[in-house]
Amino acid sequence: MIKIKIAGAFIFLLSILLVFLFNDINKQNNLNNDTLNNIKQQKIFIQDISKNILFAYKDKNISNYKLDNSIKKLLLNISAIKNQNNKTLSLYSDFYLKIQEFKNLNKITTSYSSILIEKLVNNIYKTNLELIIELDKLISIHQKELQNKLNIYKNIEYTLFFLLITLLVYLFTQIKKILIFVQRFLLISKKMIKNSSIKNLEPLKEDSISSNISLYDATNNFNSFVHKTNASVEYSIKSIEHSSKSLEMVENNLEDVLKFLYTMENNDMDLTKKEDVIIQSLEELITTTQNLKNLKNDLNDLINFKS
């Protein structure tokens, strides 16, 4: 019974553990997806900024609204790359500085500034490409990490699930043994009721349930009860019979004494009193014998469930 309790407790714990694990995996998935989405959005914003810089370079009259809007969005989502490596961060800083520089230079229209802007636009384009490559690398690293994590979680899940199934199978086999024991117990109980008797009770067989200590103990206790009941019934019947015979013997002896007294033909007071005592003793002996018979009948009624 202790094993079943322990197995039950383990099943309960494993079920709770699995629930927490599922919950944690979901959280991790959501977090990683958010990060990847942010990085991908950063990529789009960087490309948008580069494209708008190129347009602004080609046409100075064009509004800076789109460029400013893309820069604003890039800065809003900057948290996605905050924890990345130094190279990416320095590329970001460099890219941002060059954009600011472009915005300042683009307002001036001299021949020297045109040379500087051309050079700057080329640099922005290069930095843009490098950043895109770095962010692609970042995405692939994140995806790999996510895959690794998911694999570990999967393995843990499979192990816990396997343990759960094993425990359930164990529990079922243990319950099956208990059911067999209960069925046998019920069968014997039904037999007792059907026969309306507790005489010659059959003990339970121990063959298939002997491995379970609790059931083994329960079987032993029941069998011990059956053996003791059988022994008590037999002993009581024998005792009553033996007592009845003994009483009959005493009765016969007293009868002989009484006959002897009758033959004495006397008027002695003491002898008369002794005769009275013998008469009373015989009366009590006969009453006791009858009481024993009643007791035997009561016992038989008890054995045969008569009320």
């Binding site: 009758y262 008369t272 009275d276 008469i279 009948n297």
Partner: protein
């Protein structure tokens, strides 16, 4: 009815008016031998008087054996009074008619209201309760104090007619002894010249010696 009631000693102190009143709340029944007037633990609203005949009180033990308690002779209350304040009567034992009998049945509540509550027949009523107590004293003596010889001696001395009228088996049942013991006691009394047995009937030869057997105990 009125004449029958007047003939009972219990009601001898009542005047004509009271007798008429009592007749109005009473009925007279005739029962044959072996009729059980009431069973133990039953509740009855009627007070019963045995005006004629003979009855016996007995109980049944767990082995369905009859345990004889006492005889109830004519002009005695059949009902058992266990609680004077109660408006109903609860019987302690079974009451069976032994000889064809006439029983006067009185509505107990009305009897209580018309007579007992007005201090009429109270002494007679108390006397009947004492008589029942005496029966129970005899029963205690018979069952717990006397040995078999004393039991038989007391019955012969106190009610020889009844002893000769009953079968030996019935006597042994009444005295709660074995038939063999009764036979041994009678032999012992005859051998000591206390009684004689002529054609199965008992005749007392030495009454003093017979009385001494149970009085000396």
């Amino acid at each position: 009815m009125k004449k029958t009631i007047a003939s009972i000693d219990f009601f001898s102190s009542l005047n004509e008016e009271h007798l008429t009143l009592l007749s109005s709340i009473s009925t007279l029944h005739t029962y044959t031998k072996n009729y059980v007037v009431h069973y133990e633990k039953k509740v009855s609203s009627n007070l019963l008087f045995l005006t004629n005949g003979l009855a016996k009180a007995y109980k049944i033990d767990k082995h369905n054996n009859e345990v004889f308690l006492y005889y109830i002779h004519k002009n005695s209350i059949l009902s058992e009074i266990s609680n004077i304040k109660s408006k109903v009567l609860t019987s302690f034992s079974n009451i069976e008619i032994i000889e064809d009998a006439q029983v006067l049945s009185i509505n107990y509540q009305k009897f209580y209201d018309y007579f007992l509550s007005k201090n009429l027949l109270c002494l007679e009523f108390a006397d009947e309760v004492i008589k029942h107590s005496q029966y129970l004293q005899d029963l205690v003596n018979r069952e717990f104090i006397f040995d078999s010889v004393a039991k038989v001696a007391m019955m012969i001395a106190s009610d020889l007619d009844m002893f000769n009228k009953l079968k030996r088996h019935d006597i042994s049942l009444i005295l709660h002894i074995q038939p063999a013991t009764l036979s041994r006691v009678l032999t012992r009394l005859k051998r000591n010249n206390i009684i004689d047995i002529i054609q199965g009937k008992i005749k007392i030869i030495n009454y003093t010696a017979l009385e001494a057997i149970y009085k000396d105990l």
